[in-house]
Amino acid sequence: MFGYYLDLALRSLRRSPGLTALMVLSIGVGVALAMTTWSLVHSLAGNPVPQKSTRLFVPTIDVWGPDARSKAGGNEPPSLLDYATAQALLRDGRATYQSATYWISPTVVPSTPGTHPFNASGFAVTGQFFPMLDVPFKYGSGWSDANEADRAQVVVISSELNDQVFGGGNSVGKSFAINGRDFRVVGVLANWNTQFAYYDVPAYGGYMVQPIGVFLPFTTAVAMRLPPDGSTGCFKEPAQPGFDGFMKSSCVWISYVAELDTPAAVQRYKEYLQNFASQRFAWPPNVRLRNLMGWLDYLQVLPSGVRMLPLAGVGLLIVCLVDTIGLMLARFLRRSGEIGVRRALGAPRRAIYAQFMTEGALIGVAGGIAGVCFTALGVWWLRVKLPESWTAMVPRMDASLLAITVAAAIVATLLAAVYPIWRAAHVQPAIQVKTH
């Protein structure tokens, strides 16, 4: 029977190829735009460390006091910490792992004659940064707390910088000059730089992937007076000039991330922050401890126009679905006469359902294939169109996106076909037979 229905469906589709193409295109385009916009925002604003994000927390502390309120906006503490506060939090070290982080851009002078010095942008972090964020290493590892305390001249480099300076290979133990000082390589990263710097968004900015060269110990970077390359904020201008004055001031420029593994630990850390702030500052403690995803949500790094894109995509899909329902209904009901004859000759309603479901499924399969093709096209278009600094995070047409697209196409076709099929099956045979 199925073969017969398939034959009927193909005949019917061939009878009005224009209308068939319209329906298939409509489903395809709707699904593709919804999927493309969704996957873009999903990958730009998605979870950068799914395996760890529930255990990562960002503390913020009101280091400026109530006088700065109008400037800081509402009752929220500044998004970054000043040096003294970050250093005190690090010294107490109450979390499983913690890191103070700031964006640096030190200079590397290559030994090869004829080449120019270049900036090896990166971050000053603690040694705990690497295990905390599950940073993968190709060779070696991060540095120890002892290195950190000694302000050791050790460095973790990206594989790109490893290629550039050492020509690749295992460079652990080798040295090179950063800002005129000799640094020993302790680790070479595997290709890690596919996410935005979610650990330093307020200073570095969101949804941007730029080449990272080096990670230096926080204490070493500060001792070398490496200035922060990212945003800084001051309530009062530093009393003294230069990096020293900046460090001693209440200017904020340091991001802080802590790993807290249990709810009890989170609670203890909150209490610790409260005590810390009440002992340290003259004003009532005003602290926040946000989970990483809550923090990124609060910062709203993605422009609202981008966050709105999936809504527009889904809206378009709905319009395409309504369009398809209308077209399908028209074409099914046009065959009321045929349905009437079949029913009058004894075909049960079930048979009519089966026949039109076959036709609907055929359109769905074609629409799904069109949807997958258009989604692939859309994702490709994003890659071409988007700035390079985004493309590391832009979706690819991979297995999961393919599966979701196919699922979306099936659901879309079902939604589109239900009503027309129901109407077709409920055609009154008597009226149809009479009028013809």
């Binding site: 409509s26 120019h116 809206g315 700035p387």
Partner: protein
């Protein structure tokens, strides 16, 4: 009267008419709201920066062997290095002018200061962005002076940072002057930075200069102060105006010239990735509006597809109905209806459906807008967007049904006499 039979016929196609009406309503609502996002962004991107952007480029470089410290001798040394660079750039045959700067419009990095008209005022100051440069700043950037005088060489100071310079003379944009001095008498008056009690006198007013932050609060977009100063630091920036049409050559020559003066410096190779290095202002503009341009492009695409799907849907359904009513059309023709009558029938039918859809769509559009206002801090949609949206949809509907309706009008009356 042609309406009653149309309505009676539509009652026979309730579901079809309802669906196409719904589609029109949704299309109108979504397109209006998308335009409400695209419109302001497009306006934002079209704002002039106040600069003569053509032939302008920016160099960001860092001295590797810069002396550290903030004592006068060190600062003098740093200043001398910067002056040497500027002189080398100005000497290039393809370069018309050059100035040291610390920021440019759209660059997304710079200094913000609270400006007041009273000394030592901490609260209620006006936020403004600071642009440093020397006596050639206006000429190099192509800023238009509307009052007062240009900076001269004696105005230009140098120091470790803005505060230590405490410039006695500044220029401001007209927007800032009018905000600080609503009576329009800002020229020659003192202003104060960040609650300082050291006056800076306004010696000139420029027509406009967009600040470095393109997403910043709109009311602050034109609040700029021009300070005649060079900042002594290891990292310096130079804005350079190439001779007309010699931009590429000047950019290339500038890199070589600076390395010739001092090879121990970093000038990043640049590229689309980073704003360090040497970039034309056109690239800075592209970079500044990156996300906005992308949003406008993709949302415009969605709008066009939406309208196309709906127009094609209307055309498809109408041509379907024309086919279905072939015989009825023949009968009407046989009974004396002209071809124009038939054409108008389908056109008015579409107008009725589209009109009904639009009526629902207007309500839906405003409802969605109100919901988005809260969720995305959007601006309220102007009513004329909706009116234009309705007109566009109605016109589109007429366009979509024209071909099938004309086909209907060409059905010969003889069809009526044929049996099926």
């Amino acid at each position: 009267m042609i309406l009653p039979p149309i309505l009676a016929a539509l009652r026979k196609h309730k579901a079809g008419a309802f669906l196409i009406g719904l589609q029109i309503a949704l299309t109108l609502a979504i397109v209006c709201n998308l335009i409400a996002i695209i419109g302001p962004l497009a306006q934002l991107m079209q704002r002039p920066t106040g600069l003569a952007e053509h032939d302008l480029f920016l160099i960001e470089q860092r001295y590797v062997d810069a002396p550290a410290g903030h004592d006068p001798a060190t600062l003098a040394k740093l200043d001398a290095m910067q002056l040497t660079d500027i002189a080398a750039l100005r000497a290039l045959p393809d370069v018309q002018d050059a100035t040291p700067v610390t920021s440019l419009p759209l660059l997304r990095s710079g200094y913000s200061r609270g400006i007041s008209t009273q000394p030592a005022q901490v609260h209620g100051t006006t936020q403004a962005r600071i642009f440093h440069g020397d006596q050639q700043m206006l000429a190099t950037l192509g800023l238009q002076r509307v009052a007062g005088r240009d900076f001269n060489a004696t105005d230009v100071r140098h120091g470790a940072n803005d505060d230590s310079i405490a410039a006695p003379t500044v220029m401001v944009t007209r927007a800032l002057a009018e905000r600080l001095f609503p009576h329009g008498d800002g020229l020659g008056k003192p202003i104060y930075f960040n609650g300082s009690s050291v006056p800076s006198t306004i010696v000139g007013i420029v027509a406009r200069m967009l600040t470095d932050n393109p997403d910043g609060e709109k009311s602050l977009a034109w609040n700029a102060v021009l300070v005649p100063a060079r900042i002594d630091a290891a990292t310096t920036m130079y804005a350079v105006r190439a001779k007309p049409g010699r931009l590429q050559q000047a950019m290339q020559a500038a890199r070589e010239a600076l390395f010739k003066v001092d090879p121990m410096r970093v000038i990043q190779p640049g590229g689309r990735y980073e704003m360090q290095g040497i970039h034309s202002f056109a690239q800075i503009r592209t970079w500044g509006y990156l996300a906005d341009r992308f949003i406008v492009q993709i949302m415009t695409t969605i709008c066009v597809i939406l309208l196309a799907v709906t127009a094609i849907g209307m055309a498809g359904l109408t041509s379907f109905w024309v086919g279905q009513r072939h015989k009825q059309i023949g009968i009407r023709r046989a009974l004396g209806a002209t071809r124009a009558n038939i054409l108008h029938y389908f056109q008015i039918e579409n107008l009725v459906i589209a009109g009904g859809g639009c009526a629902v769509g207007v309500v839906l559009a405003i409802g969605i807008n109100l919901a988005l206002l809260k969720a995305f801090q959007m601006e309220r949609m102007p009513v004329w967007y909706v009116i234009i949206g309705v007109l566009v949809i109605l016109a589109l509907g007429q366009l979509a049904v024209f071909v099938p309706a004309r086909r209907a009008s060409s059905v010969p009356p003889v069809v009526a006499t044929r049996s099926v």
